[in-house]
């Protein structure tokens, strides 16, 4: 019978992949999601300590950042290592994967695409294994004192996969291509919009004719100094800009190939550690080692990704694939130390995400902050996490998830306090309405395709509100595309949603979700003081001070309670064959197959 749940889960998970994983996060699409998550995930911390970007001698008046280490971890195949110390070379890693919606870096906005794109392409900046922005194609970066001008010097050995060197012209052309309205990129504005001139470049002829914007042929803010030097100018000293540049929107393409070859995506000439050797839609992707890779060629000969689906656990047990996420139904037996597969089970860290129930502060009864706070105090998340969700999640204590930059434990969060909840309800302007039965009707909207079951934890939360506060809430279920439309139009009174990090900066959570003018703020939450602090944090250059600002904002948001906080994702599990070493289960999409090697 467990298999029945497996396939239903698979259906739900695959459905989730369609749209729900649109904003980033980890990249293990075949793993089963814990009940409350919107996306399928299984991740783990690298078992080798990641190498932080080492500081290069910096010019005195400038902030500088060194190049990424050639290899993360301790096994860098550098010259001083003898051959014996190098991991075994060769071999093919086989895994299940899903069809990437696109392989064009400038069009990708989803995790599945990003995983492949990160292996095949690259940009000036990438993320280290501990998610710090580090240099990739560039070997040196200097940032002007006012924080507006970023000057990159390209590595001498930075080459496209066909051997052509990457030049500053390629960088400029690539940014301009991403920002060309005809490219139809939906990510360019988010990730590149801080660069001066990108918005003008994005302006379409129609909009220019209508006077909405001024059309520009080039991106003013990207300037070629010489073949190896390129300079970016941004509109304000935003310290999160560099992290954004690690996103595929800023990746460098081969101008010649893209402009001359209509089917360039079949054999793209990228700069990443692997070449796309084969892509049969719905069947197979084969990535082959790029011998010219500027950080040293990967150990693996190739990576095979089976796209046609299949029963991951059975294939794993049958030795057809090297790794898989672990579904809930298989977990109990794998956790048993006597199970032969137990030693292959790897714990993985939680995703960078937060789940919440949004409360529309312009719709009664949520226009009263006391009602919003009362709802938070009336639910026993700790108990639900343990008893309903088997500890697969932890109660969300704030907006920023554990492990993420600016995460802090020093917040006054909500905890189960039914007396206080009732007291707050009594003090609210809806106290009489609640007593007389005139309390506004509440509908909680959740997204779900295939007639997915309503998560049990939500039912428990609703039951607690009913028991502790006497508030009845109806549930309404909507398919994802419709849900998106309505939630973006701020139509829902109460909705359940989550957010997964796009880039490792607290701005990506707090500013994007809670600034009153952000279009991803779906609750109509508006606090001028929060807005002011968020704006200050955007350009604050001192990291400590900046994170303090964000923590301040987080506390204010908690007090204002535009959400009912629910979960941070808990840790997950994955199975990895014992012969596979250094497969890091990561929380964000960065090139990772180059670390992997077979130990036997």
């Amino acid at each position: 019978m467990r298999k029945i749940f497996r396939i239903l889960l698979m259906a739900a998970v695959l459905a989730a992949l369609v749209g729900l994983v649109a904003c980033g996060g980890s990249d293990e699409p075949e793993a089963a999601a814990p009940e409350p998550t919107v996306a399928a995930t299984a991740t783990s911390v690298p078992d080798t300590p990641p190498t932080a970007a080492s500081e290069a001698p910096a010019p005195t008046t400038e902030t500088a950042m060194a190049a990424a280490q050639p290899e993360g971890g301790s096994r860098a195949p550098s010259a001083d290592l003898t051959f014996d110390d190098r991991p075994a070379q060769g071999g093919t890693l086989v895994r299940l994967f899903a069809d990437p919606p696109t392989l064009d870096p400038h069009l990708a906005g989803d995790v599945t695409s990003s995983v492949i794109i990160n292996e095949v392409f690259g940009g000036l900046v990438t993320l280290s294994l501990d998610y710090q922005p580090v240099l990739d194609l560039a070997e040196h970066l200097s940032i002007s004192e006012d924080g507006l001008v970023y000057t990159f010097i390209l590595r001498e050995n930075a080459k496209f996969q066909d051997g052509k060197p990457v030049t500053a012209h390629d960088v400029k052309w690539s940014i301009e291509r991403a920002a060309d309205p005809d490219t139809l990129s939906h990510t360019a504005e988010t990730y590149l919009g801080d660069i001066i001139g990108v918005k003008d470049k994005l302006c379409s002829e129609d909009d220019a004719a209508a006077g909405k914007c001024t059309k520009a042929d080039e991106v003013r803010g990207v300037r070629v100094i010489d073949d190896r030097t390129v300079e970016f100018t941004i509109d304000a000293p935003k310290s999160y800009f560099l992290a954004k540049l690690s996103y595929p929107s800023a990746f460098v393409l081969d101008q010649e190939q893209v402009t001359e070859d209509g089917s360039w995506l079949d054999q793209p000439n990228g700069t990443g550690p692997f070449k796309l050797a084969t892509y049969e839609i719905g069947e197979l992707i084969i990535l082959e080692r790029n011998e010219l890779y500027h950080l040293g060629p990967p150990h693996l000969e190739s990576v095979q990704m089976i796209l046609s689906g299949g029963s991951a656990m059975i294939m794993y047990e049958n030795d057809e694939i090297h790794l898989t996420g672990v579904g809930l139904d298989d977990l109990p037996r794998l956790l048993d130390p006597s199970d032969p597969l137990h030693p292959q089970l790897h714990r993985s860290p939680q995703d960078f995400d937060v789940f919440y129930i949004g409360l529309n502060s312009e719709q009664p009864p949520f226009d009263d902050v006391k009602v919003r706070q009362a709802l938070n105090y009336a639910i026993d998340l700790q108990s639900i996490a343990e008893n309903v969700l088997d500890g697969r999640v932890s109660p969300a204590t704030g907006v920023i998830p554990p492990g993420f930059p600016a995460y802090t434990e020093n917040l006054r969060s909500y905890h189960f306090n039914p007396d206080l909840a009732r007291e707050l309800m009594q003090e609210s302007e809806y106290a009489d309405a609640l007593a007389s039965g005139d309390f506004p009707r509440i509908t909680l909207t959740i997204s779900g395709s295939f007639g997915a079951a309503i998560p049990t934890y939500l039912e428990v939360i609703l039951e607690q509100w009913r028991q502790e506060l006497g508030i009845e809430v109806d549930i309404q279920q909507t398919e994802w595309a419709t849900f998106l439309q309505d939630v973006n139009d701020k139509k829902y009174q109460m909705f359940s949603l989550g957010w997964i990090a796009d880039y490792p900066d607290p701005q990506n959570f707090l500013d994007v979700l809670l600034h009153s003018e952000s279009q991803s703020n779906h609750t109509n939450y508006a606090n001028p003081e929060v807005d002011r602090l968020l704006e200050e944090a955007r350009t604050e250059r001192d990291r400590g001070r900046r994170f303090e600002l964000y923590n301040q904002v987080e506390q204010m948001v908690l007090d204002d309670a535009p959400w009912v906080w629910t979960w941070f994702s808990g840790e997950g599990y994955a199975l990895i064959k014992p012969e596979v070493s250094d497969y890091f289960l990561l929380q964000m999409s960065i090139p990772k197959y180059r670390y992997v090697y077979f130990n036997q």
Binding site: A11, L14, A15, G19, A22, P101, I281, E283, G310, L484
Partner: protein, 315 residues
């Protein structure tokens, strides 16, 4: 017969225009929007408006429809997928539809290959215990949902016996097709068994059977030439409707056995509001449905010479 087929085919374009227009209009009138799905939670009204304009999605419905049909008719261009960006819909579907067709064909062979003989067998032993047992078993298989048969088959044949591959697709003649085709074909057997059984019983009572036997024909000839052939007409009719589902595929089976068919792909496209893919799928399945029914109609005279097509009278 040729003119009959030609006359039927003349209607195809009209049918297609109706189907495509209704599909087109419903997709755009319904909630959700492909650009919004791209943007996901990164809502940005300006970006959305700009992309919608670039894609021509803000033009009047009729303009969009005519532009689409023009592309299909004049250039056989079904457009580019919204979900698989940069990929042409024709290319995406051309890879998947044949896979689903072959899988369904294999399933139908199993359904008919087992269903017809068993139905005949049961009818010839009508009322005996054997008859009851056969019908009961068939019904039991019909009641088993795919998500039970699929895992059970996988466990038995792939994991314990290890004689069949777990999943994947290597074409019609690969052993990989056996399990999915069986899972899909088995539930239909009961329908065929019952249909054949009822139909054979009906034929058995006809005068010409008594005549055939009376004039001393061997039982084998009576069974195959007289009974089965006449009993096949209702089976063929129902078969026509089965074919209609051919291109649709069965998405659970496709997911479970890792078959790159069209079923799951199309359902996904619907959720992603991938208009061009859904439109192309509507066109293809309408055409297939129409052709399948035409073929079924053309088969009647082969089974029963008394039936003449297009003559206006069926004896």
């Amino acid at each position: 017969m040729g003119t009959y087929a030609a006359r039927r085919l003349i209607w195809l374009p009209f049918l297609l225009i109706i189907v495509t227009f209704v599909t087109f209009a419903l997709l755009r009138v319904g909630p959700g929007d492909p650009v919004q799905v791209w943007l996901g939670q990164h809502q940005n009204d300006e970006v959305r408006e700009r992309l919608r304009a670039q894609l021509g999605l803000d033009d009047p419905l009729v303009v969009q429809y005519v532009r689409y049909i023009e592309g299909v008719v004049t250039r056989l261009d079904f457009g580019e997928s919204f979900q698989f960006r940069g990929k042409s819909v024709g290319e995406l579907l051309a890879k998947r539809i044949p896979v689903s067709l072959q899988l369904n064909l294999a399933a139908i062979i199993i359904t008919l290959g087992i269903g017809i003989p068993v139905g005949l067998f049961a009818a010839l032993r009508q009322g005996t215990g054997v008859d009851n047992v056969v019908v009961a078993i068939a019904l039991a298989f019909q009641s088993l949902p795919v998500f039970i048969t699929a895992p059970v088959l996988l466990l038995v044949f792939a994991l314990y016996l290890d004689i069949l591959p777990t999943s994947g697709w290597d074409g019609f003649f690969s052993p990989k097709i056996v399990m999915p085709a069986t899972v899909m074909g088995v539930p239909g057997i009961a329908i065929v068994v019952r249909l054949v059984r009822a139909s054979v019983l009906d034929v058995l009572g006809q005068d010409y059977i008594r005549t055939a036997r009376a004039k001393g024909l061997s039982e084998t000839i009576v069974r195959w030439r007289h009974i089965l052939r006449n009993a096949m007409i209702p089976v063929v009719t129902s078969f026509g409707f089965t074919i209609a589902g051919l291109a649709g595929g069965t998405f659970i089976v496709e997911i479970y056995f890792g078959i790159p068919g069209v079923g799951f792909f199309t359902i996904n496209s619907l959720f992603a509001r991938d208009y061009p893919v859904i439109m192309a799928f509507a066109i293809v399945s309408t055409t297939l449905f129409m052709l399948a029914n035409l073929i079924v109609d053309l088969m009647y005279p082969l089974l029963d010479p008394r039936i003449r097509l297009g003559a206006g009278n069926v004896a």
